[in-house]
């Protein structure tokens, strides 16, 4: 078991290193004087020269990457070329918003998807099941930003049920989180449905039924628990998709999160911040995968013995 963890940890580190490598080269392989971005259009050649030296802009790329790695190892993500702010500081200032938004969204969609998935499995091929399937496919087909704009327009602007933008208190996140949840609820409802159908056909459930357990008990206690285990895995592996959705939702509602930071940094041509937000997202994704792996081992003893 311990060996397995270390192996996974090593693999994750290699992945992150590769991510850093690829992003760094993508961002720096481009001609264009970063010094001008830092110093402004009016800077004198002497100032430009100074900045070149300070940021090692004239060194070969490989060397600069090693310097950057060295920085990373010391927990330093560098400083924004545009604002001069520490990248780590910028990210940590925005982390709470992103975490709260995604957390709330996950709670909403799981709370919706579990009963939907369970009931559609129970009443398979009914009118209810079929219409849910169509709606689920529809939610998969919605552009995140478009859905968010529509919800904002109707529910916040026209009906005034929610505040429109920015993040001042926790309640401001309900509408953005709900928009985000809609994008995922269909997929998860179908996933739970598929698993439930399999579980409901299994001898285990037939035995429970034969013993005279009530239908509700069979459905929600015995079957659902078994059907949810694979869902947790998918949830962990879906963090990248979630962050992609977060990026759009944050932009539509002007929330101060990692997503808006990433988009701003791209528009500002600010490589340290782009690197920082990409690496941070990648770490979240890799970390979530790792956590799921760990959790899975705890939930499902078969894996523990096999590991």
């Amino acid at each position: 078991m311990i060996k397995r963890f270390f192996r996974r940890l090593l693999a994750s580190l290699v992945t992150l290193l590769g991510t850093a490598f690829i992003t760094f080269f993508l961002l720096n392989a481009v001609p264009g004087d970063v010094a001008r971005v830092i110093a402004g259009a009016k800077a004198s050649p002497a100032v430009i020269q100074e900045i070149h030296a300070k940021y090692h802009l004239d060194d070969p790329l490989g060397r600069r990457f090693l310097l950057y790695l060295n920085q990373l190892v010391h927990g330093d993500l560098g400083y924004s070329y545009v604002t001069g702010q520490s990248v780590a500081e910028a990210i940590s200032a925005r982390l709470p918003t992103t975490l709260a938004l995604s957390g709330l969204a996950v709670v909403i969609w799981v709370a919706l998807a579990v009963p939907l998935g369970a009931l559609t499995a129970r009443f398979r091929d009914s009118w209810f099941d079929r219409s849910t399937l169509v709606l689920a496919t529809l939610t998969l087909s919605l552009p995140a930003f478009w859905l968010a704009r529509m919800m904002q327009y109707v529910l916040a602007y026209h009906l005034g049920w929610f505040p429109i933008g920015f993040f001042r208190r926790a309640g401001d996140l309900v509408l953005p989180a709900a928009s985000l949840a809609i994008l995922f609820v269909g997929y998860y409802a179908r996933l739970i449905h598929t698993n439930m159908v399999e579980v409901l056909d299994s001898p285990y459930i037939r035995a429970a039924r034969a013993k005279g357990a009530s239908e509700t008990r069979v459905l929600f206690k015995h079957a659902l628990r078994n059907a949810l285990i694979p869902v947790i895995t998918i949830l962990g592996m879906d963090v990248a998709g979630l962050l992609g959705g977060v990026l759009f939702i944050e932009n539509v509602f002007a929330l101060p999160g990692i997503g808006t930071l990433a988009v701003q940094s791209v528009f500002n041509l600010d490589p340290p911040v782009i690197m920082g937000s990409v690496l941070f997202s990648a770490t979240l994704v890799v970390g979530a995968n790792w956590l799921v792996d760990l959790l899975y081992g705890v939930i499902d003893p078969r894996i523990r013995s096999a590991g």
């Binding site: 264009g32 399937l133 890799v286």
Partner: protein, 312 residues
């Protein structure tokens, strides 16, 4: 047992029995037909030209017209016909989506094939590469790419003349090509795992073993024995991935880094319509609906094909 996709007629009949999938397919056929026929429709004066800034397209105050009358879906801020722009937008958006799908499929299938077939160190390296690509949220990677192309001022210029006779001709110029390459480069990792898993299973099958025993080269085995059997899976994955590529293109367009104007794409129409959103929501709703319907159609078709081929 894998179905014999040679039995085209049977497959089609089975697909037709799946009502949702056939609804998706019909919708797509209509869209593609409209996209292809758009210049003809304009020629016959059935449809306005997409970039025509008609003085009567704006009201006396210089404001867009809402739906009805001469303009079925209203006009935009420059007095251009929204219906015409959505239909012409289909030409670019569909071709960017399909181009990106082809890019993603070629890369994804190649990587999955090589990783699954050869295994060992190559597998390790390729799968790690795939995983790296999957750790970065697709849209983030895409905007990083797009930012690059913009910064350097070296947007990729490709003018594939051979495309000009197909319905993919559209206005595949400048931006459109770099956008579909970007989207394609971002979308391929999704395919790798499935393809690799299939190849791992196929590799052990009798007919592959037999071919190997007969001394067939690797290339021959891959192309002759494995690839044809992968085809159903690849088709399903490809159809489903168009849904993703279209959404991603729209996302880039929304952020204002998609295909540059004046070529209308659904994404850029939404982006251009944004400032008009409060007073003229149709400028955002119409192209948004076009995206939703198209993606929905591809998803339904993909699900239908998946059922048809019995793959999971």
């Amino acid at each position: 047992m894998l179905p014999n996709i040679g039995c085209f007629k049977t497959s089609l009949r089975m697909l037709a029995r799946n009502r949702l999938a056939s609804a998706g397919l019909s919708l797509l056929i209509v869209f593609v037909f409209l996209a292809m026929a758009a210049p003809l429709l304009t020629h016959w004066h059935i449809l306005h030209a997409p970039d025509q800034q008609d003085p009567v397209g704006l009201d006396a105050d210089g404001l867009p017209r809402t739906a009805g009358g001469d303009y079925l879906l209203g006009t935009d801020n420059l007095g251009r016909d929204v219906l015409a722009r959505v239909i012409y937008g289909a030409r670019v958006s569909l071709s960017v989506g399909i181009g990106a799908m082809l890019t993603a499929t070629i890369i994804g299938v190649t990587v999955g094939l090589l990783a699954g077939f050869y295994g060992g160190k190559l597998d390790l390296v390729l799968m790690r590469l795939t995983e790296i690509n999957m750790t970065i949220p697709a849209i983030l990677l895409a905007i990083a790419f797009a930012g690059l192309l913009d910064v350097s001022g070296r947007t990729i210029h490709l003018h594939p003349a051979w495309l000009s006779w197909t319905f993919l001709d559209f206005s595949l110029k400048r931006g459109a090509v770099s956008v579909f390459l970007i989207v394609g480069f971002v979308c391929w990792p999704g395919m790798v795992r499935v393809v690799r898993a299939q190849v791992l299973a196929l590799r052990e099958r009798e007919f592959v073993q037999a071919a190997r025993a007969l001394g067939a080269s690797d290339m021959r085995i891959i192309l002759g024995a494995i690839l044809p059997n992968l085809l159903p899976t690849v088709v399903v994955l490809a159809v489903m991935s168009i849904a993703n590529t279209i959404l991603l293109e729209a996302g880039l367009g929304y952020l204002g880094i998609g295909v540059p104007p004046p070529a209308p794409t659904w994404g850029s129409m939404i982006s251009e319509g944004q400032p008009y959103f409060i007073t003229y929501p149709h400028l955002v709703i119409v192209p948004g609906l076009a995206i939703v319907l198209t993606v929905l159609a591809f998803n339904l078709l993909g699900q239908g094909l998946q059922e048809l081929f019995g793959s999971k």
